[in-house]
Amino acid sequence: MGQATFRIWRTKPEGGGEFRDYPAEVGEGMVVLDAVHQIQATQAPDLACRWNCKAGKCGSCSAEVNGVPRLMCMTRLDDLPTDQPVIVEPMQAFPPVKDLVTDVSWNYEVKKRIAPFKPRPADAPDGTWRMAQEDADRVQEFRKCIECFLCQDVCHVLRDHHKHEQFVGPRFLVYAASLEMNPLDTGDRVPELKKEYGIGYCNITKCCTKVCPEHITITDNAIIPLKERVVDEFYDPVLKLIQLVFRPRKK
């Protein structure tokens, strides 16, 4: 199928970085991660990237391909214009480590702040619960998340406005939703959603939903219902929320 050029972000030991062009052979069905591996094996053994399963199941190989946050292992070259260089760069919302690798440790810290699952007493004497499949369905959608953090990467609250201290990001709103909507869970995270997790910062642009490789309808199914719970629970929060949500943002 011929050759293509991959324009890959390389960091420099002294700091900063630059795009460098690498040619790679393109075969049928190839994905961007295959090209990165080929380049590693033949031209740049120290080219850093994370990957594990190469099947879209572990969420390790997150990067930006031609400016779009994607899993490299699920981005087929025949869906890209290979007559032009394919631009591969690291996620922009996290501090760079090296080349395509970023420091995503912030996400692990955020997760610890969210109150864990706390089930109601078991329904049956053998310590088990009963749950209808349709109730499971709702939560299972959120639990499909592979923690690739592409939604965090694309979210302008984090990416452009760097509100990492005030806002947990779409991934952890989905996580909170998976706990809040679990029929067995007895925890109440609604006050935290408002105060600590910063749900009001989300103004429903749905960018996160668009980039989710697991096709989770993050905004509609997770964030909006949580926002409604926040509205319901607080005495006079409606006006405040509208202000937060619809306040014009500086670009």
Partner: protein, 620 residues
């Protein structure tokens, strides 16, 4: 120059954060000791996420006839009776509690009509036994353990690779690791150490395993003086993707067959009906109709032949391809349409596309996005892929401790429970049951023992070894050496084995060892995959040699090992023995045979009860 390093100290260090490592860490932590969890990747990315079909446990939610004895008998039959019976017993007995516990920690399994955990059919399991979440059960399991574990005070050290275990005399004292980000060394000092490092699949070209599967746990233990057992038994999963080339080997879950998928050759024949082993005949469907009724849960029906054990199905596929009845890209066809048509005639308004998207969501996306194929409409092309190693560190059946005091192992890098062939679904239950036991006994050991000394000479030697690829004047590219190893193992020690080919493989391994000692990597120590690969070669070469030598010793075909030159079982000579691999006094690898421990009468009865009252030859 002495090696520069940072030291972290814990009562128990767990190496590996897949299902087994996480479960061990949680248990040790619950016992009140300080626990460090060290992993090569980010937390939650380990190979467990790839497990699709489910967790085998005799919950009896779907078929009330199921119980631990049937699960035990199924596991032993699947393993061709060279399993460690005690591990198989503990596994079958304790798996239901481990699954229920996951639910208490937040896992959301698929449900039965009355709201209990749903269970599905799988190869070699007599009753529907696999608790599952669509076809992403492994993700559910690892995420549940991860989210539960982070609130237990476990210290997690991510993206750190252990290169050597450190000993104080005979006992374990810690481990030396490097971090990927900066390439700095870390000494983890511990009273007890649990290996949970997964498998060896990256020794082969076509594999469902990720880059992490380089046999680290096996090699760390072997280098430290532990024994390996059953190394010849490498499971080739019958159904991996074969096209396009870049996805070759990626797993297609057995759940596809569990939900009614059938295998066909290029003539359109459902070839599995033509080759059913005698010991499985009584529990295999006689015709298509009966097989489909089984899929739908008819308790009077037997399972379709596609759900025979993995070793057998994989060999049948190889035979079809070799005899010219394969698919265009060297596999066979796996299709859902026959079942959908049959079912559609019986259920009004059956929407096949919706049904499969719900039952097999990640398979649907995997083929749609990577193969450009709609599995609800078109047949898949599948062929065998290296999937799992039954062999591993030899450990005590109750405590999971190796022969090195303080060194424990669990999950895929430990061995015994699966014998010659693992049943699908038994690895997730194995890593929960035996992972928990490893954590429990490691904590107990740590409480009863003072910490050993870390000796500087060991740290220095390991550190110098790790840095050699930067300093030597070699000319070899580690990626190329790794690729040549994978090609060779695939060709010479793969699914069909012969003595002459394996002897050639041993010579090839010696050459590859020499080449790996000449590997040179450019760049610095910061996140340098070339350097990491150069170090991984040591473990890949060690386990490859272990597999080859053990496979040579077992001059018979049993379970996952198929010898073209000894195509039958030889129960008299090999049906009651395990291969034991260890480093000899001369520093060379040696393999010997040891008898399988004798099984108590009560367990023999459980097996006979499931085999028409007759005891298999191996147990007589």
């Amino acid at each position: 120059m002495p090696t520069d390093y940072q030291t972290f100290e814990h009562d128990v260090i767990v190496i590996g954060a897949g299902g087994a490592g996480l479960r061990a860490a949680i248990e040790a932590s619950a016992a009140g000791v300080s626990v460090g969890l060290v992993c090569k990747s980010l937390l939650g990315k380990a190979h467990t996420v790839m497990a699709e079909g489910g967790i085998a446990a005799a919950l009896a939610n779907v078929d009330e006839r199921d119980n631990w004895k049937v699960h035990f008998a199924d596991t032993m039959r699947g393993g061709q009776y060279v399993n460690n019976w005690r591990m198989a017993q503990l596994h079958a007995q304790e798996a239901p509690a481990r699954v229920r516990e996951l639910e208490a920690w937040g896992a959301v399994f698929d449900r039965t009509a009355d709201g209990r955990i749903l269970q599905r059919n799988f190869g070699g399991h007599k009753y529907p036994r696999l608790a599952h979440v669509g076809d992403r059960t492994g993700l559910e399991l690892i995420r549940t353990l991860q989210d539960h574990g982070v609130h237990r005070g476990i210290s997690v050290y991510m993206e750190r690779t252990v290169v050597r275990l450190l000993k104080d005399g005979d006992r374990i004292a810690g481990a030396l690791a490097y971090d990927r980000e900066r390439g700095r060394f870390t000494v983890f000092r511990a009273k007890a150490l649990v290996l949970a490092c997964g498998g060896v699949g990256k020794a082969f070209k076509i594999t469902s395993n990720s880059w992490e599967y380089t046999g680290d746990g096996h090699t760390l233990a072997y280098d430290a003086g532990a024994e390996l057992i059953d190394m010849e038994f490498v499971q080739f999963h019958p159904t991996g993707m074969v096209w396009p080339p870049s996805v070759r080997g990626i797993l297609v879950t057995e759940g596809v067959r569990g939900e009614g998928g059938v295998l066909r050759n290029s003539n359109g024949d459902r070839f599995m009906f033509g080759d059913i082993p005698d010991n499985y005949k009584p529990q295999t469907a006689k015709d298509e109709e009966e097989g489909f009724r089984y899929v739908l849960g008819d308790k009077d029906a037997n399972r379709p032949p596609e759900l025979l054990t993995r070793d057998h199905v994989a060999r049948c596929i190889v035979r079809e391809v070799r005899e010219g009845r394969g698919s265009p890209h060297g596999g066979v066809f796996l299709e859902l349409q026959t079942f959908a048509q049959w079912f559609g005639k019986r259920k009004r308004g059956f929407d096949a596309a919706e049904h499969w998207k719900k039952k097999l969501p990640s398979m649907y996306h995997q083929f749609k996005e990577l193969g450009g194929l709609d599995i609800t409409k078109e047949p898949m092309e599948v062929g065998p892929t290296t999937h799992y190693v039954m062999g591993g560190v030899r450990v005590d059946s109750d405590t999971q401790m190796s022969r090195i005091p303080g060194l424990f192992a669990c999950g895929e890098c430990a061995a015994g429970i699966n014998g010659a062939n693992r049943l699908g679904g038994n690895s997730l239950s194995d890593l929960l049951v035996l992972g928990k036991r490893a954590g429990e006994f490691a904590a107990r050991y740590a409480k009863e023992t003072a910490a050993g000394q870390v000796h500087a000479d060991q740290v220095d030697a390991a550190g110098r070894w790790a840095l050699e690829p930067f300093e030597r004047a070699g000319d070899e590219n580690p990626f190329k050496v790794q690729q040549d190893l994978q090609d060779m193992m695939q060709d010479l020690v793969g699914i069909v084995r012969r003595e002459d080919e394996m002897l050639r493989a041993l010579e090839g391994l010696e050459q590859l060892k020499r080449r790996s000692a000449r590997c040179k990597v450019p760049g610095n120590r910061e996140y340098n995959p070339g350097w990491h690969t150069a170090m991984d070669l040591h473990s890949l070469l060690t386990v490859s040699e272990g597999i080859t030598r053990a496979a040579l010793v077992r001059k018979e075909s049993r379970g996952a090992q198929f010898r073209d030159d000894f195509p039958n079982k030889d129960t008299a000579n090999f049906g009651k023995v395990n291969t034991i691999t260890s480093r000899g006094p001369d520093g060379r690898m040696q393999v010997r045979l040891e008898p399988v421990p004798p099984m108590p009468g009560e367990l023999k009865d459980a097996i006979a009860a499931e085999a028409g009252g007759k005891l298999p030859e191996e147990l007589k």
